[in-house]
Symmetry: C2
């Protein structure tokens, strides 16, 4: 008997997570049907993807083409909400991913959420929209995916979520050395191959602060129940301590196709010969160290304001996005990133009670405020 294929759209298909999602799908032609692909400006790569996967629809910022082969142009919002789609892989970067996440969940889609900005900015809203409309949020980040895999089937509330961090490109630099690092150095992540923004966020550990916020939302936990430890090998992706003190950990090669495939097939798992198998003997040792807060001022700053909550979360996202852009454009130093975010967040008039629109506005305000401080100077 023919099995129904899962009908998928990918928002951000030419990016790192989008491309790797297609790598996984390529291995399972009988399981998935790519209905829509959405890219930004990389129309060349998009055209190749469309040729290979023959989706009915595409979307792109570059509006030079109204059709690619037999694929028709739709808006990106259409690709997040189309009735012919079951699963939306939301892999765009940046805070404007939030309305797309809301739209997809409002239509009851299963949403593979790689755009963590959405859940950081408005986690409670996203969860409510999902609950009210039969939508599902499936985390794609390796750390929340690991936590999720560890709690599957557990009947009792865990005691502690332990998120691992590689420590990023500069884990062995002193605070003094950090002042003069270049974007090229910052983009040289010790273990993971990822997009630019997230690689810089890994070096500042801002990414880890966002994951703590994401974890708190996804698992209804308080920040006090979430720890971060430095784990250089990026093999243990996170751990959960159960109420009885037993700890469960999830391990694999640092390859994003692992959490992507897990979300695509959940609750089942499938053999994928294309994925690297992790050999415990090859790794030989797994180490865990405390995080040195003096090296990672972004983390403490973000957690301080995240504990207050409200639109501060969105401001952290927007200000960080601008600060990273400024650093990549060589307009500020690496060590200025935390300072820039702090300046913006301190100037923000926080709303504890806020709508999704308020969050988007706050993030945009924070981005503009941070970015223009340097462009107009």
């Amino acid at each position: 008997m023919a099995r129904m294929k899962k009908r998928i759209s990918i928002l951000g298909s030419t990016g790192s997570v989008g491309s790797q999602t297609l790598d996984v799908i390529r291995q399972f032609p009988d399981e998935f049907e790519v209905v829509g692909l959405s890219a930004g400006k990389n129309i060349g790569k998009l055209a190749k993807q469309v040729e290979e996967f023959a989706p009915r629809y595409f979307s792109s910022i570059d509006d030079s083409m109204s059709e690619i082969g037999s694929a028709k142009r739709l808006s990106i919002t259409d690709l997040a909400t189309h009735p012919e789609i079951d699963f939306v892989m939301h892999a765009t970067a940046g805070f404007d991913g939030l309305p797309l996440a809301c739209a997809a969940l409002r239509e009851g889609k299963a949403v593979g959420l790689s755009n963590k900005e959405s859940i950081v900015m408005a986690g409670a809203h996203l969860k409510r929209i999902a609950d009210d409309n039969g939508g599902t949020i499936l985390p794609i980040d390796s750390e929340p995916s690991a936590l999720w895999q560890c709690v599957i089937g557990e009947k009792s509330r865990p005691k502690r979520y332990i998120i691992t961090a590689s420590g990023g490109a500069f884990r062995d630099k002193t605070p003094d050395e950090l002042a003069n690092v270049t974007p090229e150095e910052a983009l040289n992540h010790p273990t993971w191959t990822m997009g630019k923004k997230i690689t810089i966020d890994s070096a500042t550990l801002m990414n880890k602060a966002f994951e703590v916020m994401e974890t708190a939302s996804l698992f209804d936990s308080s920040f006090d129940e979430i720890d971060v430890v430095i784990h250089r090998q990026s093999i243990v992706h996170s751990l959960v301590e159960m109420s009885d003190g037993s700890i469960k950990a999830q391990l694999s090669h640092h390859d994003m196709r692992h959490p992507i495939q897990f979300a695509l097939f959940y609750p089942e798992r499938r053999l994928n010969d294309d994925l690297p198998t992790f050999d415990l003997l090859e790794a030989s040792e797994l180490t865990f160290e405390a995080m040195d807060p003096s090296k990672y001022p972004c983390f403490d700053l973000a957690m301080k304001y995240a504990r207050i909550g409200g639109t501060y979360n969105a401001v952290l996202v927007g200000a960080d996005e601008a600060a990273v852009d400024l650093f990549l454009a060589r307009k500020i130093r690496f060590t200025d990133i935390a300072h820039e975010i702090k300046t913006t967040v301190k100037a923000h008039d926080n709303q504890l009670d806020f709508t999704v629109e308020d969050a988007i506005k706050a993030a945009q305000w924070a981005y503009d405020t941070t970015y223009t401080r340097h462009i107009t100077r």
Copy 2:
């Protein structure tokens, strides 16, 4: 509303696992009722336990007392099968635990199976008896308990079970040095505090062979799907590789109360302040090494015959029990243990198709054959 207490009997209550089971139960007076306690010859310790936990029944090999306080004497089989009992903690040592396991499962009990000899000798029989009578086998060993915790909630068949081994007391000795080790040295386990028999079996890795056999039975897996790795810290108790290559691991302090409590409360978990919490930062590193087969001839020997199956399994159990007794009695050297087991197993007339009674007879034969070779010499 009053919650029904789980009514428990402990077979082997004065032993290591039995006593630790009572340690756990002591923390949860509202959850458990100790209905029966059964000991061997340690009537003094049993009397103290009876005084504290006030069971209605007791059993002991020492038949000098027909009552202890208000507790009445029953046979150990009665304590495995009594209608007032829900959960039987089967923590006796040795191959004569098999008929008790069968009897308890035949009465539909939940059986916490610390007596791994039972499942090694007649795993398929135990599972069939459990299935036919609504009984449940809950492993108490830390390794199968870890595997069990890792597969909870998983919908797809795992690819590989990875059992960890500390390597035992002699993991850093050369094969030559092993010839002259004493029972006292063998009993000095690097991480775990356990009974004598299992501590010697840890040094020979015979214990690990039995766990592989236990795992194959419990999880319906083939020996080819089970690996053993040396993990010196005894923190990661085992790991499961899922079909998609994701690995889940279970970690905790090497304290038997962890797997005991997990089985007692399954499928729930409870906070127990009396149990040590494991701090990842305190451990700092976890290492994994290949096992050196030349150091552990018992392991290879056992696996060779376990692959054939039948009553060989029971003979391995019986011969090992005798060989360990002989070593503890200083009648053979540590390095003779494997040789003694091999001599006996080679003399055995294997039955591939066998009953529980055949298995018990084969184990008894193997014990007697091995032991008397030295007593009569």
